[in-house]
């Protein structure tokens, strides 16, 4: 399966950043017509900050603005919902309020400084950004991290997935006024953040990753306790999840909300839980070159419920995965860990990480140990298109279910 993650364009040429069977590839366009192969080519090419910005007119139609600084929109982003009262005729999403030009700001900075900036693009995906950037730079300057570093990065990405998925499901339960479920999920979310802290020293997994290595290795003595905690989270969550699936009041709100077909999802270049909820088996798990790959969870319906189900099963899988591999982590010890060195001061690199909401790609050019160019491709940007499309023809009540179910963030979409 080939997915177009981004376009690396210069005035002279244009290269396609593709994920091909789980491996990132850069391909020159060379006069071909990529728009015929990749439905999302024009989206990525134009890279508009106002998504789906075509006004809708008609008697009684008006533009309902939600944001950029409004209760309910937790980031600086703005929705323009064209409506004649209740039905959403079109949803235009303006991500420009969060535009920070971080990729440009990284230029001429050292890779270490740029890594810190990458980690702060979107705190929910801090580790994914950090690892994707690190991998790209490591490729550019020819650094080979140890197995221990690679394995820990993989595990920490799963920790990030667990707390992100818990957060999304918590938001869905809150939107559906499932107070008890939401309170339990909120407690589990807090527990996941505490486990992050015990593993990495940071609730949002910041400052643990570095170029070619980890800043510190989690203490082996606590590993068993942490592994047990993850199993407890899986158990408690499974119980809650099964219980929630019996609540039709909850399910009815998610069912048929923001439905996307597999063709639509692929056309938008979606990856991660959103694509898998449409029944498409993607290769994102293959971006991990080590440890045993996780099973790919899919659903067929493509609606908010299906996306929730995918995330729910992934939480349980990731918890067990973490528990199993944390227990085996003492065998990864590598004496060469501290001797990681770069072999080149110049180079080009690119990498893709399986972030909680889909493929996150980085393309970097390093020159004389300075960042020459950085291109960042996040799952939230096409995700915003999916939100816009999913909201069309629904009513206002459906808004939170659709938006939350995609697990996207303005900070991640607007770099």
């Amino acid at each position: 399966m080939k997915v177009l993650i981004g376009i690396v364009a210069t005035p002279e040429d244009e290269r396609l950043f593709i994920l091909d069977k789980g491996k990132p590839v850069l391909t020159a366009v060379n006069g071909k017509h990529p728009e015929e192969t990749f439905g999302n080519y024009s989206i990525l090419k134009q890279h508009l900050s106002k998504i789906n910005d075509e006004p809708m007119k008609g008697p009684g139609v008006f533009k309902f603005r939600y944001g950029p600084v409004t209760a309910g929109v937790r980031e600086a982003g703005c929705f323009y919902l064209y409506t004649y009262g209740e039905k959403i005729l079109r949803a235009t999403i303006d991500i420009s309020w969060k535009q920070r030009e971080i990729a440009k700001a990284m230029v001429d900075k050292s890779p270490e400084t740029a890594l810190t900036m990458a980690e702060r693009i979107c705190s929910n995906f801090a580790l994914s950004h950090s690892v994707a950037f690190s991998r790209a730079v490591e490729m550019a300057v020819d650094i080979s991290p140890s197995l221990q570093t690679k394995n820990w990065r993989t595990l920490l990405i799963e920790s990030e997935r667990i707390y992100n998925h818990l957060y999304v499901i918590y938001k869905l339960a809150s939107a559906a006024a499932q107070k008890v479920l939401a309170a339990h999920l909120s407690a589990l979310f807090e527990e996941a953040l505490r486990l992050n802290e015990r593993l990495s020293g940071s609730r949002y997994l910041m400052n643990i990753n570095s170029l070619g290595k980890l800043n510190h290795i989690p203490e082996i003595s606590n590993i068993e306790k942490i592994a047990n905690k993850y199993l407890a989270v899986a158990k408690q969550f499974t119980e809650l999840y099964k219980h929630s699936l019996k609540n039709y009041n909850y399910l009815d709100r998610l069912h048929s909300a923001g439905t996307l077909t597999a063709e639509q999802a692929e056309g938008l270049g979606l990856t991660g839980p959103t694509l898998r909820a449409c029944g498409v088996v993607d290769d994102l798990n293959d971006t991990t070159e080590h440890l045993i790959s996780l099973p790919v969870i899919t659903q067929k319906e493509g609606d908010a419920l299906a996306r929730m189900e995918v995330r729910a099963e992934e939480i349980v899988n990731s918890c067990h995965y973490l528990a199993d591999h944390l227990r085996a982590s003492d065998s990864w010890y590598d004496a060469t860990e501290k001797d990681v060195k770069s072999h080149n001061a110049n180079g080009t690199g690119y990498a893709v990480v399986n972030s909680p909401s889909g493929a996150m790609g980085y393309y970097v050019e390093v020159n004389d140990n300075k960042m020459q160019r950085v291109d960042i491709f996040t799952p939230s940007y096409p995700g915003m298109y999916a939100v816009s499309q999913g909201l069309e023809d629904l009513i206002f009540t459906d808004f939170p279910f659709v938006f939350e179910s995609f697990g996207v963030h303005f900070a991640d979409a607007a770099i």
């Binding site: 008697p59 009684g60 533009k63 600084v69 064209y82 004649y84 009262g85």
Partner: protein, 632 residues
């Protein structure tokens, strides 16, 4: 009394004659209404035959003013006076002489209806009223194909009355109202149907769409309030006199309740500023019809214990009549004032009357709309409480069928009241008190308009607070009592022993003490306040970001799409929702058929060919000859 009545007629004729001088003509109309009002005041205590002319054996043309006529003349003339005053200023916008001519003669026709004591005089007044109201509809100088539908329904009503009175003559040998008790059920149905059609009861409302948006404002007010009032008067006049038929009473109750529901349903979604009060008329007249039907049912049952309930139902119908006539006249005048000042046609376009046009028309809209929304202590509150209270007591009837029908009517009317409140809030929220978007109105003469608006607004408030006086005025002092700390006669009781009570007077006093006085003290002592724009996400709202009036109703259009026949059209850049009053379909179908037939006849027989024309004459001659032979 007689002299005042004759003076009133003379003033109306003078008004018609002086129609080229429009303002003078309306002043004559006003003076005529004052005279008619005064004559009715005298008739409250003493009934009098005004005129009697023997036409044939057993057939006399007579004018008579009794207590019922007097009540209705007083109600109608208050509306006419306000409309005449309003029209003095309004005539500067529409100076065509046919408008005051139609206005004066239409009032004359209505006065004849209200005093007629026989079928022929009634029909004469009825036709004068209908034809000159039709003439007024042409007052803007535009041609309206739809206005002929009004005429068609008007004539349908006349035909029904003509056949009804002819049948009365056949059975009773007279067309005097005194002979109505000898009439058959056939007479009952036809005559009451004639009046029901005039009340715009569903499905006889089908002429309204396409007309109310185009006709002059004073004409719209006249058609909606005083003209429909004639239908109500007719029913109130003949129903107690004609023989009672329970089935017909039940039909009337259910037809009225359904009409109220349908009127409320349509009013909730219309966007044309004058169509909303027009549908509200259907709703109100539906409630009045139900009250009259309930009265007939209770009184005709012969059960003594239901006599109080019958009186209460009849009083309810008259209170609703007063509320509707005053509120609707005020609403049309205030809306018309705003509409003309802005020169717009929809609720959305006429936003912000308070700041954009003036406070008096805005208050006029608010008071009348609140009255229709049954807001205490306004008189509309009393009327709507009374009709619901009447229907609540359907269990008092021994027949399950009657109790069930009345309960069903109660459900429909309760829904209607909710829907009409929903509609009226739209008028208050958008038109009266909404944001004016910086729009400024054009300067129009408004001194007389303001006088008319203030007078009717005050009457609506005083009529509610002074409800006991109104109840005594309409002749039902037995419905008043005292309860606990509230002294007699401030409490209106729906039955004895007490079933349900209200006291708008007491509510008014409480509101005055608990609300107005503290607000007044607060306003007087208020400190310097700082006003800021409301927070809208951090960005100023653009013009296309304001919540529209159609959006307010869209949820109803969606949920009740079966009733509204909601259809959505959507393209890539354009989207729209259409709703339809499906009960006007039969009328549209008949109208289209008539037009098609007319075209075919015109093209085949009246196409300028002599041979075709001769054939047409011959066919007609032979047909008439054969019919004549058969009848003979």
């Amino acid at each position: 009394m007689k002299i005042l009545f004759i003076i009133a007629l003379l003033f109306y004729i003078a008004g018609a004659v002086s129609s080229p001088k429009t303002q003078l003509s309306y002043i004559f109309g006003f003076l005529g209404s004052v005279s008619a009002f005064l004559s009715a005041c005298f008739a409250l205590t003493r009934s009098q035959i005004l005129w009697n002319f023997p036409l044939l054996h057993n057939v006399s043309l007579s004018l008579y003013m009794d207590h019922l006529s007097a009540i209705f003349i007083i109600i109608a003339t208050i509306s006419w006076m306000a409309l005449a005053l309003y029209s003095v200023d309004y005539s500067k916008l529409y100076p065509k002489k046919r408008l005051p001519l139609g206005f004066n003669l239409s009032l004359l026709g209505m006065l004849l209806v209200l005093t007629a004591h026989d079928g022929i005089t009634l029909l004469a007044g009825w036709e004068i009223m209908t034809i000159f109201a039709f003439l007024m509809m042409q007052g803007t100088g535009k041609y309206f194909e739809h206005s002929y539908r009004f005429l068609a329904f008007g004539e349908l009503s006349t035909i029904s009355l003509v056949i009804g009175f002819a049948a009365l003559y056949v059975t009773a040998g007279s067309i005097s109202f005194d002979a109505l008790h000898k009439g058959s059920y056939f007479v009952l149905i036809l005559i009451s149907l004639g009046f029901i059609i005039k009340m715009d009861i569903v499905p006889f409302h089908a002429w309204m769409q396409g007309i109310y948006g185009e006709i002059p404002d004073n004409t719209a007010a006249l058609l909606s309030a005083p003209v429909t009032l004639m239908g109500v008067y007719g029913l109130e006049r003949v129903i107690p006199l004609l023989p009672n038929n329970q089935l017909w009473d039940i039909i009337i109750i259910l037809l009225g309740a359904f009409s109220a529901f349908w009127g409320g349903l349509q009013a909730a979604v219309v966007n044309k500023i004058r169509l909303l009060p027009a549908y509200s008329t259907i709703e109100n007249n539906g409630m009045i019809l139900t009250a009259i039907g309930f009265y007939a049912l209770a009184e005709g049952s012969g059960i003594l214990s239901l006599h109080y309930l019958a009186s209460f139902a009849l009083a309810a119908s008259i209170i609703l009549v007063i509320s509707h006539t005053f509120s609707k006249t005020l609403l049309f005048m205030s809306i018309g004032h705003a509409k003309e000042a802005y020169n717009v046609h929809t609720i959305d376009q006429a936003r912000g009357v308070w700041s954009g046009v003036g406070r008096i028309p805005a208050i006029g809209i608010v008071i009348s709309a609140l009255s229709f929304s049954a807001f205490p202590p306004l008189i509309g509150y009393a009327g709507e409480w009374m009709i619901l209270e009447t229907l609540f007591q359907s269990y008092r009837f021994p027949s399950v069928a009657i109790a069930f029908s009345a309960a069903l009517a109660g459900i429909l009317i309760a829904l209607a009241i909710g829907l009409i409140s929903f509609a009226m809030i739209k008028l208050i929220g958008y038109t009266a008190l909404g944001y004016d978007h910086g729009r400024k109105s054009r300067p129009i003469a408004r001194r007389f308009m303001h006088t008319a608006e203030i007078s009717l607004g005050s009457l609506l408030v005083l009529g509610g607070i002074g409800l006991p006086l109104v109840i005594i005025f309409i002749g039902f002092p037995q419905l008043l009592t005292g309860l606990l700390a509230i002294p007699a006669p401030l409490v209106l009781a729906s039955n004895q022993p007490v079933f349900g009570v209200i006291s708008p007077t007491f509510i008014g006093i409480i509101m005055l003490v608990l609300l107005i006085i503290p607000v007044w003290i607060f306003m007087k002592n208020k400190k310097k306040t700082r006003k800021v724009e409301s927070w809208n996400g951090g960005i100023k709202l653009e013009e296309d970001e304001f919540f529209t009036a159609p959006a307010y109703s869209q949820i109803l259009e969606h949920i009740l799409r079966g009733f509204y026949h909601t259809r959505e059209k959507k393209s890539k850049t354009r989207s729209s929702i259409t709703v339809e009053d499906i009960l006007i379909r039969p009328t549209v179908f008949i109208s289209n058929m008539v037009m098609k037939t007319g075209k075919i006849v015109a093209s085949t027989l009246m196409n300028g060919k002599i041979s075709a024309y001769v054939a047409y004459i011959l066919i007609l001659f032979i047909t008439v000859f054969i019919i004549g032979m058969v009848v003979k």
